[in-house]
């Protein structure tokens, strides 16, 4: 089984503050981490490989040269190799241009299964996974919460929905996006750390992917950010306390006063 897992390096948003003047994130001095959902994707990729009793897991990332650290961290966890798409030509890519580049790389590897996190915690779009699948012309299942069975040429998964879950059978190749319910990501191993130290991360440029220039980076990105703002805090909130009975009667009183009931 050949598996690819897409990994993004993101600022640890638990530590990020907003510059209220410029309306941008203050990223200076904020530690970079693997996007938390991608950790679940990595875990799923590794456990499928282990269940299958063989194969390779390749982690790929698009980002600045520092993003290499995220790939090394993936190798510490047991991923076999890391590929970094890094080039000035990629800078400013929106989800469409990013997906195009990732898909071009993935089609070279031609894996059976691709895992992504459901979304990145810095952009929160949840678009890249499905877009990559579309570029590749393969099926995808987003929000996978459980891998039920893996057999030759077919996988059954559970997809998390607002009101329950779907059971989905899919042929291969296929792309999945992982939610945190999928698994508990493992910790690194000593052998993994040693391998990561020695690993050579393959660097890929725009030229290696033979994508026309206008389709990458800023010029290949139809998304334009007009304005970034913090939503106004909505007023009129109230927290009730006391026993359940007290809270219920207080709530009923509030609603009556607002003539909702």
């Amino acid at each position: 089984m050949k598996i690819v897992v897409c990994v993004k390096q993101v600022p640890d948003t638990a530590e990020v503050k907003l510059d209220r003047e410029k309306n941008t994130l203050i990223r200076d001095g904020v530690p970079s981490i693997i996007n938390p959902y991608d950790r679940h994707a990595i875990e799923a990729a590794l456990s499928i490989k282990e269940q299958a009793g063989g194969g390779t897991v390749t982690a790929i990332s698009m980002g600045p040269p520092q993003a290499e650290a995220a790939l090394r961290e993936a190798i510490e966890l047991g991923v076999d190799e890391g590929v970094l798409l890094t080039d000035r030509a990629f800078a400013g890519s929106d989800t469409l241009a990013t997906s195009r580049a990732l898909a071009a790389m993935i089609s070279i590897i031609s894996p059976d299964v691709i895992f992504c996190g459901k979304q990145a915690i810095d952009g929160d779009t949840a678009q890249v996974g499905p877009e990559v699948a579309e570029f590749l012309g393969i099926p995808h299942v987003a929000y996978v919460r459980k891998i039920v069975t893996v057999s030759d040429g077919a996988i059954r998964v559970e997809r998390l929905m607002d009101d329950g879950y779907d059971v989905v059978d899919t042929s291969l190749p296929v792309l999945f996006t992982a939610v945190k319910e999928l698994n508990t990501p493992r910790l690194p191993s000593l052998r993994g750390k040693m391998a990561a130290k020695k690993a050579v991360i393959k660097k890929i440029t725009a030229a290696d992917l033979s994508i026309p220039e206008g389709e990458l980076g800023l010029s290949g990105s139809p998304t334009q950010v007009n304005r970034v703002f913090t939503p106004e805090a909505r007023g009129g909130r109230k927290a009730l306390s006391g026993s359940l009975e007290e809270q219920v009667s207080a709530l009923a009183g509030e609603l009556r006063a607002m003539s909702c009931a």
Partner: protein
């Protein structure tokens, strides 16, 4: 202080620290209260390759050396001595196999120990044989192709949970201390059962249990070394493991010091954080100095052991005595600095102080080890060095 750790030793430290922070600290209070054996954590340690630091690579281990092993024990001990006791006792039980097992026995047992799939225990103590191990009454008699064991071992760490036991028993009582032999016994051997499980003051997630042998039959070749070598096996094993108990003392002291400093910076009385009071500062200064001295001694002894020095009974006893006395003193002082909060279970130093006490008792009480050090001094002087 910078102890010039190698790249691999730093990786091991970081890994053990991460496991301690993410997997041990969140559950230690509950494991302590309910006496839950830390299987979940052992599984993680196994997957992280840390269960095999002391095992050669040809048997599936990492062969990382004594110092790396001390560093791992120290980091786990900062978080929970119950967990680190389980971990260190596993190495203790492995040493007889490592030093005296045949290649065939090593191939059979060591890879599963290195991966954390099977735990080991070391069984010497009996009801009438504590400090005076020569008083053991468990017997092993050769009967055809099997040894038959009879007797009861007491207070065995990892007892009941481990699947592999290294056991010292008398094969020839008439020869006294030269009549003991060491064996490997697997859980499930006919006639081998478990007795009383102890309810303890501290290290409550570590299992301490009786082993009962009633006409327990094991294959003849489960003998480690030769007949009569039992106490030699035990002494060599304990010489190797005692420095690790020292590292437990160092770890729990370092953990308690961190808590004391943190608390002293936050707690305000008389309008000032209490860390501003000289009485508190001086206590913290003595605690920090003791921790650093313990670390320097434990690490130096570990390096000496790695360098192939033959006889390190004296120095490993020193590392154990000094660092575990530091462990007791620093955890007690940490409780003092936290005041009433330190006495409450909401803060971790209460458990640290209860846990620390065992380190002065097991693997040779600190009095007995002072005897060992004193006797060595006498011998050295007699030899003229």
């Amino acid at each position: 202080m910078d102890y010039q750790l190698t790249e691999e030793q730093v990786m091991i430290r970081d890994l053990a620290r991460q496991i301690a922070r993410e997997r041990v600290v969140p559950v230690r209070a509950e494991m302590d209260e309910k006496g839950i054996f830390p299987w979940e954590i052992i599984k993680v340690l196994g997957e992280s390759d840390l269960m095999g630091l002391h095992i050669p690579q040809e048997y599936g281990g990492m062969a990382s050396g004594a110092l790396a092993h001390m560093v791992a024990i120290e980091e786990l001990s900062k978080a929970c001595l119950g967990v680190s006791t389980t971990y260190a006792a596993n190495a203790l039980g492995t040493f007889p196999l490592l030093f005296f097992g045949s290649d065939e026995k090593k191939k059979k047992f060591l890879p599963e120990i290195a991966s954390g799939k099977r735990l080991v225990a070391f069984a010497l103590t009996e009801a009438n044989a504590g400090s005076d191990a020569s008083g053991i009454q468990t017997t092993a008699k050769l009967d055809g192709n099997e040894y038959v064991l009879n007797g009861t071992k007491q207070w065995i760490t990892n007892g009941g949970e481990a699947e592999i036991y290294t056991v010292v028993a008398m094969t020839d009582k008439s020869r006294g201390a030269r009549g003991a032999s060491a064996f490997v016994v697997e859980k499930g051997a006919p006639g081998f059962t478990f007795g009383k499980k102890e309810d303890k003051m501290g290290i409550r997630c570590s299992a301490t249990r009786e082993l009962v042998f009633e006409n327990c039959r094991i294959p003849k070749d489960n003998l480690l070394g030769r007949e009569g070598m039992g106490f030699l096996v035990a002494m060599k094993t304990l010489d190797h493991s005692r420095c690790g108990v020292g590292s437990q003392g160092l770890g729990v002291a370092a953990g308690a010091l961190d808590e004391a400093v943190k608390f002293a910076r936050e707690r305000v009385q008389f309008g000032h954080p209490i860390i501003g009071f000289q009485a508190i500062q001086h206590m913290l200064a003595d605690m920090a100095t003791a921790v650093e001295a313990a670390r320097a001694l434990v690490y130096s002894v570990a390096r000496a052991m790695e360098s192939g020095v033959k006889d390190f009974s004296k120095v490993s006893a020193m590392a154990k005595v000094f660092a575990t006395d530091v462990g007791m003193r620093v955890t007690t002082d940490a409780v003092q600095i936290l005041g009433g909060s330190g006495y409450m279970k909401e803060y971790p130093v209460e458990k640290m102080m209860r846990d620390a006490k065992i380190l002065q008792i097991f693997e040779g009480t600190n009095q007995i080890l002072r005897n060992v050090i004193g006797q060595e001094l006498n011998k050295e002087a007699a030899r003229g060095n």
